[in-house]
Amino acid sequence: MNNSSTKGSLILSLVFLLVFLGFWQLVTTRIKSLPGPWPVAETAYYFLSDPFYDKGPNDQGIGTLALYSLGRLSLGFISGSLVAVILGVILGLNQVLFKAVNPYIQVLRAISPIAWMPLLLYSVQNSNITALLVVFMASVWPTLANTAFGVSSIKKDYISVSNILQMNPISRVFKVILPGAGPTIVAGLRISMGSAWVAVVPAEALLGTLGLGYFVWNEWNNLSLTSVIFAILIIGMVGVCIDFLFNKLAKGLAYVD
């Protein structure tokens, strides 16, 4: 990367931040009840100076809440991805099955995971498991579609080589199919992770399970808009950190054809 252009982008980013903060400040002078950047910064300092406090089951530090959300995200995402990759490999290797199932995948993935929530809550009668299932639902579809596509578009020659070498099914999957489709799968995982993180917040807010989404809703009920804005920022930052990790993973699995 060109050094001077990186520097230019950085300066421009800072300019945009200042413009945004200025605009925000301007808006709050018009709408008096809306907190400006400064009160939010004070709130942020208050919450972040003791992120893991514990004042009873409904009043936990922001760090603890973030960990709750991340735990829920990881569990739902990992189980969803596992199912998606396994199904995706099966569909990718079986074109007839893929074509038969594809319309349903397209319908299912168009449904917001939040839309499943009432049905899931009614079925399992447990808000924590429901929240997990919502994250699971959000994680499955992009990875499933990408894995099936990635596996089905692996070069025929690689499959021929594995056939000639009479590789056993396990090494075929782990040595040829998964690495071959790796970059496409990771692209799917990245989209899945994004939509899972997007689903976590409303799921927690609506189900009242401890986490960042719950915090947002709780602070709204307390009419504490500074805390709501602070929570929004935290949610965004956590999302960026997760995406950064996936970027690293994608770079590790990329190959030049």
């Binding site: 070069k155 020659d157 690689y158 021929s160 080589v161 056939n163 000639i164 070498l165 009479q166 590789m167 090494s171 040595k175 040829v176 690495p179 071959g180 790796g182 699995l253 190959y255 030049v256 054809d257």
Partner: protein, 270 residues
């Protein structure tokens, strides 16, 4: 002893909207004896690669049979290794890794040490010592095909199937690798079946050249025994008295476009 036998193999492709299927080639029969180097020479699109894929077991014949060691071939197998025109190396594996998966597949009982030693032996044989850790994208075409050759030789197949192996390699490198291939063929005593459209390559490398007519309905029209003694060099082979006789006959065949005559054989012995 007859190692490979292709018995009246035909290949048809289904064509949409037409009554008759497209016939790539019809009733192709040939035999390759042990330790022989046989080339099928023909125009691009005459179906010679399809024939090779059928022998490899990665494509199916519409009719006919292929036998190896008098046993009928069904599906691909380690005793028929293919060297691909476009190399078909796994881009996510290194040079060493690409050869290693073949060794691991061929000798599942071996331990890590034995496997690595065997891989290294073939890396050295094709002259890639020092490039073991490189990925295919970092290699030239010539080096890629060296990996392809090492991957094929290392499993010690009964027969090596070469599908226009040097077509994508620059002319200068091609000559060097061709001579190396002959040396490896000599050393290992393997049988080689190659398809190519390169006349000089066929004469330089083969014991016998089978000439395939252009498709559709391609057939093997003629057979030439290249009697030029080995070792043959790219520079010296052209001085051999029968070189031009062989070459002219092939060129004449390739440039004729009228109805093919029935097959016949001719021996050109030095």
């Amino acid at each position: 002893m007859e190692l490979l036998k292709v018995d009246r193999v035909s290949k048809y492709f289904q064509t949409t909207g037409k009554k008759q299927d497209y016939c790539v080639f019809k009733d192709v029969s040939l035999a390759v004896i042990e330790k022989e180097f046989v080339a099928v020479l023909g125009h691009s699109g005459c179906g010679k690669s399809t024939l090779l894929n059928i022998i490899a077991g990665i494509d199916n014949a519409t009719r006919g049979y292929v036998f190896l060691d008098a046993k009928e071939i069904v599906g691909p197998g380690l005793e028929r290794m293919v060297v691909f025109q476009n190399f078909a190396l796994m881009p996510w594996l290194t040079v060493f890794g690409n050869i290693r998966i073949a060794v691991k597949a061929a000798y599942p009982a071996w331990n890590r040490h034995q496997i690595n030693e065997w891989v290294q032996k073939y890396v050295d044989m094709v002259g890639l010592t020092g490039a073991e850790g490189k990925h295919p994208s970092e290699l030239s075409g010539g080096m890629k095909q060296r990996v392809g050759l090492a991957r094929a030789f290392c499993v010690q197949p009964r027969i090596l199937l070469l599908d226009e192996p040097f077509a994508q390699i620059d002319a200068l490198t091609r000559g060097v690798i061709q001579e190396e291939l002959v040396r490896m063929w000599f050393k290992t005593g393997i049988t080689i079946f190659m398809v190519t459209h390169d006349v000089d390559e066929a004469i330089l490398l083969s014991d016998r050249i089978l000439l395939m007519s252009p498709g559709p309905d391609a057939k093997i029209m003629d057979e030439i025994h290249v009697g030029i003694p080995r070792p043959r060099g790219r520079a010296t082979i052209i001085e051999h008295p029968s070189y031009y006789a062989v070459r002219n006959r092939i060129i004449k065949f390739l440039s004729q476009r009228e109805e093919p005559k029935p097959a016949r054989t001719m021996n050109l012995v030095a």
